[in-house]
Symmetry: C2
Subunit: 115 residues, 2 copies
Amino acid sequence: MKDQDAVIALGAIAQEDRLAAFRLLMTRGPDGLPSGAIAERLEIQPTRMSFHLAALERAGLVTTRRDGRHILYSVDYERMRNLLTFLMEDCCGNNPDVCCLPANRPTNPSIADRT
Amino acid sequence: MKDQDAVIALGAIAQEDRLAAFRLLMTRGPDGLPSGAIAERLEIQPTRMSFHLAALERAGLVTTRRDGRHILYSVDYERMRNLLTFLMEDCCGNNPDVCCLPANRPTNPSIADRT
DNA sequence: TTCATAATTCGATAATACAGGAAATATTGT
DNA sequence: ACAATATTTCCTGTATTATCGAATTATGAA
């Protein structure tokens, strides 16, 4: 992921309503939710929600697909993974001592090879 | 970490110059770097660098300490860890199947208890 | 104390982003 | 074709953020 992509992705979730929507979508998995349902759940006006969801989509963090008269928004988990990887790169990669990995997870990349 | 804190922290690194500065500081560990050195390295005017570093500090992502006529900026790794944890909460917590953890790390929190 | 260096703060301007409501588009059911 | 639903796009005003240069504060050295 390039710096510019990260800036856009970070900017997308650096807003109250969008962060709330994104986190809600994360809990829904690939099925996702339509804009209206998200708006209702978060008590945000539909036109606002649409605006914010468009920003998340531009940032690549969510994808859309139409289902009848609904448009379903769902998280692009791989994109999110890429963003988190990007944020950790300069941390543990060059500085194993002071690691920013959450929950005291092992810093050794070989952990990925375990079952 | 509260939503509002996350929004501020994310907004802090959602900017080209600040993201570059933050990533540079991450590679430096607790020692950090003075504003001038960062500005020179990134080819950013000192007054702008100062402005952006102040934003990172307000967001809690970096701390400062004076050393002679230098003011050293360094990453608050715990804060960064908290932010990353926050971002992953709604992912693997509620949805072990579609996980956004980087590098295929185990999703089971008990991993933290291993040696 | 006076000079030079490191960095920040201030004031003005320019660029972006946010919010609300009206209008437009797409889809389904009658 | 028509009405209803789901959602987006457009327009306007407002607020936040970024940039630049000049002035200011803090420190160390002569």
